[in-house]
Symmetry: C2
Subunit: 129 residues, 2 copies
Amino acid sequence: MQRLTVQRQAILDLINASNRHWDADEVARALVDAGASIGIATVYRGLAALESLGLIDSIQLADKKRYERADKAHHDHMICTGCGHIEEFSHETIEVLQQQIAAEKAFRLTGHQLVMFGLCRDCAEELDR
Amino acid sequence: MQRLTVQRQAILDLINASNRHWDADEVARALVDAGASIGIATVYRGLAALESLGLIDSIQLADKKRYERADKAHHDHMICTGCGHIEEFSHETIEVLQQQIAAEKAFRLTGHQLVMFGLCRDCAEELDR
DNA sequence: AGCGTAATGATAACCATTATCATTATTATG
DNA sequence: CATAATAATGATAATGGTTATCATTACGCT
Ligand SMILES: [Mn+2]
Ligand SMILES: [Mn+2]
Ligand SMILES: [Zn+2]
Ligand SMILES: [Zn+2]
Protein backbone atom coordinates (compact mmCIF):
# COMPACT_ATOMS: atom_id res chain seq x y z
CA MET A 1 0.00 0.00 0.00
CA GLN A 2 1.63 3.22 -1.14
CA ARG A 3 -1.29 5.52 -0.64
CA LEU A 4 -3.52 5.90 2.34
CA THR A 5 -6.49 7.10 0.33
CA VAL A 6 -9.63 8.64 1.73
CA GLN A 7 -11.41 5.32 1.27
CA ARG A 8 -8.78 3.41 3.21
CA GLN A 9 -8.64 6.07 5.88
CA ALA A 10 -12.41 5.83 6.22
CA ILE A 11 -12.20 2.06 6.65
CA LEU A 12 -9.46 2.41 9.23
CA ASP A 13 -11.30 5.13 11.12
CA LEU A 14 -14.49 3.12 11.19
CA ILE A 15 -12.79 0.05 12.57
CA ASN A 16 -10.64 1.95 15.03
CA ALA A 17 -13.69 3.73 16.41
CA SER A 18 -15.37 0.50 17.40
CA ASN A 19 -14.82 -2.76 19.23
CA ARG A 20 -16.71 -4.80 16.69
CA HIS A 21 -15.50 -7.54 14.38
CA TRP A 22 -16.56 -6.34 10.95
CA ASP A 23 -17.03 -8.28 7.76
CA ALA A 24 -16.43 -6.57 4.42
CA ASP A 25 -20.09 -6.05 3.68
CA GLU A 26 -20.75 -4.44 7.05
CA VAL A 27 -17.87 -2.05 6.49
CA ALA A 28 -19.15 -1.11 3.05
CA ARG A 29 -22.69 -0.57 4.27
CA ALA A 30 -21.59 1.47 7.27
CA LEU A 31 -19.48 3.75 5.13
CA VAL A 32 -22.16 4.23 2.49
CA ASP A 33 -24.72 4.87 5.20
CA ALA A 34 -22.38 7.50 6.61
CA GLY A 35 -22.43 9.24 3.27
CA ALA A 36 -19.15 7.97 1.87
CA SER A 37 -18.81 6.71 -1.68
CA ILE A 38 -16.96 3.42 -1.78
CA GLY A 39 -17.28 0.25 -3.80
CA ILE A 40 -17.27 -3.19 -2.31
CA ALA A 41 -14.12 -4.15 -4.21
CA THR A 42 -12.33 -1.20 -2.70
CA VAL A 43 -13.42 -2.31 0.74
CA TYR A 44 -11.97 -5.77 0.20
CA ARG A 45 -8.73 -4.33 -1.13
CA GLY A 46 -8.55 -1.74 1.61
CA LEU A 47 -9.08 -4.28 4.36
CA ALA A 48 -6.38 -6.53 2.93
CA ALA A 49 -3.97 -3.63 2.53
CA LEU A 50 -4.55 -2.32 6.04
CA GLU A 51 -4.12 -5.77 7.49
CA SER A 52 -0.87 -6.40 5.68
CA LEU A 53 0.47 -3.23 7.28
CA GLY A 54 -0.68 -4.39 10.69
CA LEU A 55 -3.10 -1.48 11.02
CA ILE A 56 -6.03 -3.83 11.54
CA ASP A 57 -6.36 -7.45 12.64
CA SER A 58 -8.59 -10.21 11.36
CA ILE A 59 -10.06 -13.54 12.30
CA GLN A 60 -11.03 -16.10 9.72
CA LEU A 61 -14.35 -17.64 10.57
CA ALA A 62 -16.03 -20.50 8.74
CA ASP A 63 -17.99 -18.36 6.35
CA LYS A 64 -16.18 -15.06 6.25
CA LYS A 65 -13.29 -12.99 7.46
CA ARG A 66 -13.85 -10.41 10.15
CA TYR A 67 -11.69 -7.40 10.91
CA GLU A 68 -11.04 -5.52 14.12
CA ARG A 69 -8.78 -2.87 15.61
CA ALA A 70 -5.13 -3.79 15.86
CA ASP A 71 -4.36 -1.56 18.82
CA LYS A 72 -5.37 -4.20 21.32
CA ALA A 73 -3.06 -6.85 22.70
CA HIS A 74 -3.20 -10.26 21.09
CA HIS A 75 -6.26 -12.21 22.08
CA ASP A 76 -8.40 -15.10 20.97
CA HIS A 77 -12.16 -15.44 20.61
CA MET A 78 -15.13 -17.22 22.06
CA ILE A 79 -18.18 -17.10 19.80
CA CYS A 80 -21.77 -17.68 20.82
CA THR A 81 -23.41 -19.90 18.25
CA GLY A 82 -26.77 -18.64 19.45
CA CYS A 83 -26.52 -14.89 18.98
CA GLY A 84 -23.15 -14.38 17.34
CA HIS A 85 -21.72 -12.51 20.30
CA ILE A 86 -17.93 -12.54 20.30
CA GLU A 87 -16.09 -12.51 23.60
CA GLU A 88 -12.37 -11.91 23.69
CA PHE A 89 -9.89 -13.54 25.99
CA SER A 90 -6.19 -14.10 26.36
CA HIS A 91 -4.26 -16.53 28.43
CA GLU A 92 -0.51 -16.33 28.72
CA THR A 93 -0.06 -19.99 29.61
CA ILE A 94 -1.90 -21.12 26.50
CA GLU A 95 0.34 -18.91 24.41
CA VAL A 96 3.48 -20.30 25.97
CA LEU A 97 2.33 -23.88 25.64
CA GLN A 98 1.71 -23.36 21.97
CA GLN A 99 5.26 -22.19 21.52
CA GLN A 100 6.52 -25.24 23.36
CA ILE A 101 4.46 -27.57 21.19
CA ALA A 102 5.71 -25.91 18.04
CA ALA A 103 9.29 -26.18 19.23
CA GLU A 104 8.85 -29.88 19.95
CA LYS A 105 7.62 -30.49 16.43
CA ALA A 106 10.30 -28.23 14.96
CA PHE A 107 7.67 -25.90 13.57
CA ARG A 108 8.57 -22.28 13.05
CA LEU A 109 5.41 -20.73 14.42
CA THR A 110 4.07 -17.69 12.59
CA GLY A 111 0.58 -17.44 13.98
CA HIS A 112 -2.36 -19.20 15.46
CA GLN A 113 -6.07 -18.91 15.92
CA LEU A 114 -7.99 -20.32 18.82
CA VAL A 115 -11.75 -20.08 18.57
CA MET A 116 -14.05 -21.47 21.22
CA PHE A 117 -17.69 -22.10 20.35
CA GLY A 118 -20.57 -22.26 22.75
CA LEU A 119 -23.49 -20.40 24.20
CA CYS A 120 -23.19 -17.13 26.03
CA ARG A 121 -24.92 -16.82 29.38
CA ASP A 122 -28.06 -15.29 27.89
CA CYS A 123 -28.44 -17.85 25.14
CA ALA A 124 -27.79 -20.72 27.53
CA GLU A 125 -30.48 -19.46 29.88
CA GLU A 126 -32.90 -19.02 27.04
CA LEU A 127 -32.29 -22.61 25.99
CA ASP A 128 -32.81 -23.98 29.51
CA ARG A 129 -36.04 -22.07 29.97
CA MET B 1 -29.19 -40.15 8.04
CA GLN B 2 -31.51 -43.12 7.81
CA ARG B 3 -29.59 -45.14 5.29
CA LEU B 4 -25.94 -45.99 5.21
CA THR B 5 -25.78 -46.33 1.46
CA VAL B 6 -22.95 -47.79 -0.54
CA GLN B 7 -21.80 -44.28 -1.39
CA ARG B 8 -21.69 -43.23 2.25
CA GLN B 9 -20.00 -46.45 3.25
CA ALA B 10 -17.40 -45.86 0.57
CA ILE B 11 -16.71 -42.35 1.90
CA LEU B 12 -16.43 -43.67 5.43
CA ASP B 13 -14.15 -46.52 4.43
CA LEU B 14 -11.90 -44.22 2.46
CA ILE B 15 -11.48 -41.81 5.34
CA ASN B 16 -11.11 -44.50 7.97
CA ALA B 17 -8.38 -46.17 5.96
CA SER B 18 -6.18 -43.10 6.00
CA ASN B 19 -4.69 -40.48 8.28
CA ARG B 20 -5.27 -37.67 5.85
CA HIS B 21 -7.46 -34.62 6.14
CA TRP B 22 -9.63 -34.79 3.06
CA ASP B 23 -11.61 -32.10 1.33
CA ALA B 24 -14.79 -33.00 -0.55
CA ASP B 25 -13.17 -32.87 -3.94
CA GLU B 26 -10.33 -35.15 -2.92
CA VAL B 27 -12.82 -37.68 -1.58
CA ALA B 28 -14.82 -37.59 -4.80
CA ARG B 29 -11.76 -37.96 -6.97
CA ALA B 30 -10.35 -40.80 -4.90
CA LEU B 31 -13.60 -42.73 -5.05
CA VAL B 32 -14.04 -42.20 -8.76
CA ASP B 33 -10.43 -43.18 -9.36
CA ALA B 34 -11.10 -46.34 -7.35
CA GLY B 35 -13.88 -47.19 -9.76
CA ALA B 36 -16.84 -46.03 -7.71
CA SER B 37 -19.64 -43.99 -9.17
CA ILE B 38 -20.47 -41.03 -6.99
CA GLY B 39 -21.45 -37.45 -7.64
CA ILE B 40 -19.87 -34.49 -5.91
CA ALA B 41 -23.19 -33.48 -4.35
CA THR B 42 -23.48 -36.91 -2.81
CA VAL B 43 -20.00 -36.57 -1.38
CA TYR B 44 -20.89 -33.28 0.28
CA ARG B 45 -24.11 -34.73 1.66
CA GLY B 46 -22.40 -37.92 2.76
CA LEU B 47 -19.63 -36.08 4.56
CA ALA B 48 -22.14 -33.90 6.39
CA ALA B 49 -24.28 -36.89 7.32
CA LEU B 50 -21.35 -38.94 8.56
CA GLU B 51 -20.06 -36.04 10.59
CA SER B 52 -23.39 -35.38 12.24
CA LEU B 53 -23.34 -38.99 13.40
CA GLY B 54 -19.85 -38.56 14.78
CA LEU B 55 -18.46 -41.13 12.35
CA ILE B 56 -15.95 -38.64 10.97
CA ASP B 57 -14.46 -35.39 12.24
CA SER B 58 -13.76 -32.15 10.46
CA ILE B 59 -11.70 -29.02 10.68
CA GLN B 60 -12.81 -25.80 9.08
CA LEU B 61 -9.91 -24.10 7.37
CA ALA B 62 -9.96 -20.70 5.71
CA ASP B 63 -10.90 -21.91 2.29
CA LYS B 64 -12.50 -25.28 2.82
CA LYS B 65 -13.57 -27.93 5.25
CA ARG B 66 -11.43 -31.02 5.71
CA TYR B 67 -12.53 -34.36 7.09
CA GLU B 68 -10.66 -37.04 8.98
CA ARG B 69 -11.21 -40.23 10.92
CA ALA B 70 -13.14 -39.84 14.16
CA ASP B 71 -11.54 -42.79 15.91
CA LYS B 72 -8.66 -40.77 17.20
CA ALA B 73 -8.65 -38.85 20.44
CA HIS B 74 -9.40 -35.14 20.26
CA HIS B 75 -6.51 -33.14 18.92
CA ASP B 76 -5.72 -29.82 17.32
CA HIS B 77 -3.69 -28.94 14.28
CA MET B 78 -0.51 -27.23 13.22
CA ILE B 79 -0.42 -26.40 9.51
CA CYS B 80 2.63 -25.66 7.42
CA THR B 81 1.90 -22.67 5.22
CA GLY B 82 4.72 -23.77 2.96
CA CYS B 83 3.76 -27.28 1.97
CA GLY B 84 0.35 -27.79 3.54
CA HIS B 85 1.56 -30.50 5.88
CA ILE B 86 -0.75 -30.94 8.86
CA GLU B 87 0.70 -32.01 12.17
CA GLU B 88 -1.56 -33.07 14.98
CA PHE B 89 -1.09 -32.38 18.64
CA SER B 90 -2.98 -32.38 21.87
CA HIS B 91 -2.23 -30.80 25.19
CA GLU B 92 -4.30 -31.51 28.21
CA THR B 93 -3.42 -28.28 29.99
CA ILE B 94 -4.60 -26.20 27.05
CA GLU B 95 -7.88 -28.09 27.07
CA VAL B 96 -8.40 -27.52 30.78
CA LEU B 97 -7.51 -23.85 30.56
CA GLN B 98 -10.08 -23.37 27.83
CA GLN B 99 -12.75 -24.82 30.07
CA GLN B 100 -11.69 -22.51 32.87
CA ILE B 101 -11.85 -19.48 30.60
CA ALA B 102 -15.29 -20.45 29.36
CA ALA B 103 -16.50 -20.93 32.90
CA GLU B 104 -15.21 -17.49 33.91
CA LYS B 105 -17.15 -15.88 31.07
CA ALA B 106 -20.22 -18.03 31.77
CA PHE B 107 -19.98 -19.60 28.35
CA ARG B 108 -21.40 -23.06 27.84
CA LEU B 109 -18.58 -24.49 25.77
CA THR B 110 -19.57 -26.79 22.94
CA GLY B 111 -16.39 -26.96 20.92
CA HIS B 112 -13.21 -25.25 19.93
CA GLN B 113 -10.63 -25.19 17.20
CA LEU B 114 -7.00 -24.32 17.71
CA VAL B 115 -4.94 -24.02 14.57
CA MET B 116 -1.30 -23.06 14.62
CA PHE B 117 0.32 -21.79 11.44
CA GLY B 118 3.98 -21.88 10.60
CA LEU B 119 6.65 -23.66 8.67
CA CYS B 120 7.53 -27.28 9.13
CA ARG B 121 11.17 -28.19 9.60
CA ASP B 122 11.71 -28.90 5.92
CA CYS B 123 10.08 -25.71 4.69
CA ALA B 124 11.92 -23.63 7.28
CA GLU B 125 15.27 -25.08 6.20
CA GLU B 126 14.43 -24.49 2.58
CA LEU B 127 13.69 -20.87 3.35
CA ASP B 128 16.92 -20.34 5.28
CA ARG B 129 19.01 -21.83 2.53
C1' DA C 1 0.63 21.30 -16.52
C1' DG C 2 1.90 16.76 -17.63
C1' DC C 3 3.64 12.11 -16.71
C1' DG C 4 3.81 7.74 -14.33
C1' DT C 5 1.57 4.93 -11.35
C1' DA C 6 -1.55 3.45 -7.71
C1' DA C 7 -6.31 3.11 -6.51
C1' DT C 8 -11.10 2.93 -7.58
C1' DG C 9 -15.46 0.87 -8.92
C1' DA C 10 -18.49 -1.72 -11.79
C1' DT C 11 -18.72 -6.11 -13.01
C1' DA C 12 -17.18 -10.70 -14.39
C1' DA C 13 -15.08 -14.66 -12.72
C1' DC C 14 -13.93 -18.00 -9.22
C1' DC C 15 -14.57 -21.55 -5.88
C1' DA C 16 -16.57 -24.08 -2.22
C1' DT C 17 -20.82 -25.30 -0.89
C1' DT C 18 -25.93 -25.76 -0.91
C1' DA C 19 -30.48 -26.06 -3.27
C1' DT C 20 -33.42 -28.00 -6.80
C1' DC C 21 -35.62 -31.66 -8.88
C1' DA C 22 -36.27 -35.60 -11.65
C1' DT C 23 -34.71 -40.28 -11.19
C1' DT C 24 -33.22 -44.32 -8.59
C1' DA C 25 -32.72 -47.19 -4.52
C1' DT C 26 -34.27 -48.79 -0.20
C1' DT C 27 -37.56 -49.83 3.22
C1' DA C 28 -42.20 -50.61 4.79
C1' DT C 29 -46.74 -52.41 4.08
C1' DG C 30 -50.71 -55.16 2.32
C1' DC D 1 -44.45 -60.58 -4.15
C1' DA D 2 -46.27 -56.18 -5.47
C1' DT D 3 -46.56 -51.77 -4.56
C1' DA D 4 -46.50 -47.59 -2.01
C1' DA D 5 -43.74 -44.35 0.75
C1' DT D 6 -39.72 -42.09 1.31
C1' DA D 7 -34.79 -41.40 1.43
C1' DA D 8 -30.74 -40.84 -1.43
C1' DT D 9 -28.52 -39.85 -5.71
C1' DG D 10 -26.60 -37.02 -9.34
C1' DA D 11 -26.64 -33.49 -12.75
C1' DT D 12 -26.89 -28.92 -12.59
C1' DA D 13 -28.37 -24.31 -11.07
C1' DA D 14 -27.86 -21.13 -7.54
C1' DT D 15 -25.59 -18.89 -3.65
C1' DG D 16 -22.21 -16.19 -1.18
C1' DG D 17 -17.81 -14.53 -0.15
C1' DT D 18 -13.91 -13.14 -2.39
C1' DT D 19 -10.65 -12.05 -6.21
C1' DA D 20 -9.60 -10.64 -11.08
C1' DT D 21 -10.24 -7.55 -14.93
C1' DC D 22 -10.05 -3.26 -16.95
C1' DA D 23 -11.31 1.28 -18.09
C1' DT D 24 -11.35 5.43 -15.46
C1' DT D 25 -9.87 8.50 -11.77
C1' DA D 26 -6.81 10.37 -8.24
C1' DC D 27 -2.38 11.14 -6.49
C1' DG D 28 2.61 12.39 -6.20
C1' DC D 29 6.29 14.30 -8.46
C1' DT D 30 9.05 16.96 -11.60
MN1 LIG E 1 -11.16 -9.59 18.76
MN1 LIG F 1 -6.46 -34.26 12.55
ZN1 LIG G 1 -25.48 -15.71 22.69
ZN1 LIG H 1 6.11 -27.56 5.10
